[in-house]
Symmetry: C2
Subunit: 402 residues, 2 copies
Amino acid sequence: MKAVGVIVEYNPFHNGHHYHITESKNETGADIAIAVMSGQFLQRGEPALVDKWHRAKMALSSGIDIVIELPYVFSTGNATHFAEGATQLLDAIQCESFAFGSEQGTIQPFLNTHSLLKKQNEEYNALIKQFVSTGLSYPQSLYMAYEKLKKLEENDYIDLAQPNNILGYHYIEAADRLNLTIKPVTIQRIQAGYHDLINTDLSIASATGIRKSLFETLNLDEIKKFVPTTTFTQLNAWCKTHNQFINWDTLWPLLRYAILRNTPEQLTQYADVTEGIEHALIKAARKSTSFSQFMTNLKSKRYTWTRLQRMITHIYTGITKETLHQFSKPSYIRLLGMTSAGQKYLSENKKSFKLPLISRVASTKDPMLQLDLRATEMYAQGLSLISQHEPNGDYQTPPIRL
Amino acid sequence: MKAVGVIVEYNPFHNGHHYHITESKNETGADIAIAVMSGQFLQRGEPALVDKWHRAKMALSSGIDIVIELPYVFSTGNATHFAEGATQLLDAIQCESFAFGSEQGTIQPFLNTHSLLKKQNEEYNALIKQFVSTGLSYPQSLYMAYEKLKKLEENDYIDLAQPNNILGYHYIEAADRLNLTIKPVTIQRIQAGYHDLINTDLSIASATGIRKSLFETLNLDEIKKFVPTTTFTQLNAWCKTHNQFINWDTLWPLLRYAILRNTPEQLTQYADVTEGIEHALIKAARKSTSFSQFMTNLKSKRYTWTRLQRMITHIYTGITKETLHQFSKPSYIRLLGMTSAGQKYLSENKKSFKLPLISRVASTKDPMLQLDLRATEMYAQGLSLISQHEPNGDYQTPPIRL
């Protein structure tokens, strides 16, 4: 059996994701698709709308055969770290290829860009420095340096101003740097851009648009046409049990308490918290009664929104720099769920996996896994604010079989 | 002007407290009464029913002329530490005497007991050791040793099995050990014992009984006859703003989050947390959905309820052993409120106070005071769970003038 891997968050799973899976299988001739999916906390430094098991069920009923968890260490990391964790896991579980959606849609320009930047690395870094010295921001300087390099050779390169092209580039770069055998494939994204809001004339909307609609209208019917029926069922089931979806607004009372319970010095111990921002965090928490107020009070030119949210994630979960920096490579493959085809793949290929497969968390003491368990527990504390139901825990939840 | 001091929590202020103030002034001939009152967290390791300003208002409208705050360091300490802080503050603000309620009702037996235990200190300690070695608990051994010593001399001694006699004894012991000039006076307690529940035939009920009734019936009218009208007004005002009274059940979601957000090793850093209990704390928090469940799961013969609640208080406020152990003596007199008579007393006597008087917290960086501000902020986080109103903060609240 042949497997293609996808790197996902499914927050929530929608028609665009379904299209991507179908195309990935077609393009690669794979028998099954394996998703490496962020757990309770996501790459933009946010809690997931619904927990990882509900999101895994959505995926398994819409074309994915195995869902494994991207450990907290990587799922909350920057693009480079995120890409390293995800590609290594798909490689470890013996995917022949991984397929990512991109604005570009063909793989050659990615490979061209990657070899250009690799070959011209010194020149690239010199150019970046030069642009930074003129007063441009670091991301702007990266982009300008790349644009300048592109002109050196006549070739097809990707547009690095497109968010999905950037992600794809990081995957390719990570897989090459780590000498993985897994091969990159890209699928043209259709209809909805990464951050596009809902356009009711189309049946594909971005996850960002879907979340916005869910939180603003509080009406699941509004997003019905943009998601598979099975996603709709899972979102409904979640709502029945927990009354509302999760975002930082939901967790705000706990987040504010966590920030104020720490001294400024203690705050700087948490992962990603840059020294100098600790007083601003406390000041903003003191004068804000909602998360959006807090972010407005905190935001400055110096930090991007995502950067701030990642700091906040680690403060919320109580994970320190010291803890997080121990880890560089994934040490396990955590199985969240599978279909019967997925199960067959696992039995047939388990022996050649490059990392141990974990189905029951109680059977392991892996310290990287402990952070995933902690993230689930901290996520669950937020749930207990809004719901009388005890939320799912890692110890109580076996892999889903669909 | 002559002042008598009282040591109080007023949780809430009731008819028994009013009687005690009237009698204390009569007995001592004092012109005014000064209360040193616990702030947001109390000696039994609990959050106060309503905040310190509401409680100060109750006191100022019922016979107290000045309310000063017993710092967190002392208000959450054991009986000895609590007594040290309270008596030193009343001495520092130049009270001639302090008056405490007791089952005994006359001062001489207290003085007799104190000089007996002071004189026979070695013998007393030897007896305690002896009883402990027979398998009795420490408090039981204390009592038995005392009972044995009492028989050595024909004299009037207090009964140390009575809770208010014990408190009074600690005040006298502290005042003597610290060489304070303030003189002890005692007032006979009437009608309601320390922990007695409400007896509707009497107009005096214990604060414990009143709280129990408030939380169980959620009906203020049930306790109306046991409190002055002004207490009733303050409790009503609180309810209108914050919807409910505060206890550990109210703060439970935050407390559970605080416990689980810490590693076992981190938990042991908080004040009063004995090494060995950290795993039990986490285990009990994991399997409990309410504070009472948590305490049932946590309780063992080894720790008293109060002892456990004090650990919990420091975990909740995030105050470590290292922080708390820096402090031994009060370093300021924090003014929470005053009547016009109180204000007159302050102007006349301010110069002879033994510690600086703090009216506005913004004007000082005293590290002991920072813990009071932190306690208020952490208390307020619980309020924000139940109420849309921003709670009172130390920076925003000037001393009450009544």
